[in-house]
Subunit: 134 residues, 2 copies
């Protein structure tokens, strides 16, 4: 079906939470987890992925935590999704894992229209940035 993973939802909630704070303020994973009732360990994983892709910056050690690495307007939702999902972010297999991975690719008659749908969805997510959902 067409469903966002919980990780993506948690990531969106978390990065939005960070964005509501004064710029540069550091927020801990625990604070976010407690605020929204999200499993701490799972949220940590998500925040680490967002860190690795450069959307937020991490600060280890005591008094550490996370802060935005860019302005909210510079963070499209599409980047958040791809940071968390890695591959598997396309509506159909052949568009994310490659044509070879689908056994019916050569005779498939719907990949062309679905590619257009995919483009529409991508555009929807890339034109919406963090500042719009705060």
């Amino acid at each position: 079906m067409i469903r966002l993973s919980k990780r993506v939802e948690y990531g969106l909630i978390a990065i939005r939470h960070i964005a509501t704070k004064p710029a540069g303020e550091i927020v801990t994973a625990k604070e976010i987890a407690d605020t929204y009732g999200i499993p701490y360990e799972l949220l940590s994983k998500v925040l680490q992925k967002l860190t690795k892709s450069g959307l937020i910056s991490s600060h280890q050690g005591m008094r550490g935590g996370y802060a935005l690495a860019r302005a909210p307007a510079e963070i499209p939702v599409s980047l958040i999704i791809s940071a968390i999902e890695g591959t598997r972010q396309a509506i159909v297999q052949c568009l994310s894992e490659g044509p070879q991975t689908c056994t019916v690719f050569t005779v498939c008659t719907i990949k062309s229209p679905l590619t257009k749908v995919q483009a529409n969805i991508e555009r929807a997510f890339s034109t919406m940035n963090l500042s719009e959902i705060v």
Copy 2:
């Protein structure tokens, strides 16, 4: 992630195949399965669901098969998806299984923007009909 199920893809391929035939011509599940290399039993289930929702008509017995029940322009892709997926066709849980099913619903800060995204996707699928993908 955001992915169409294989059932939906098979359903789209199948119903498009039927639509390419002269109106009223009956096509067997076996013919479709053979043409596209789709597992026959799985395809049958999908066609049965499309039949139950009135998008195609079935004819049992020898020389039986399936035919379109409406004109292609009267079959939006959204109907095909909902016929096959039943529930679980929303981008987030709270929109398809109901608000109560999500443990963080009351404090969730992203459901409002995601509802808009959902509306966009629904519009994309409901404005595209079968005649456009043939």
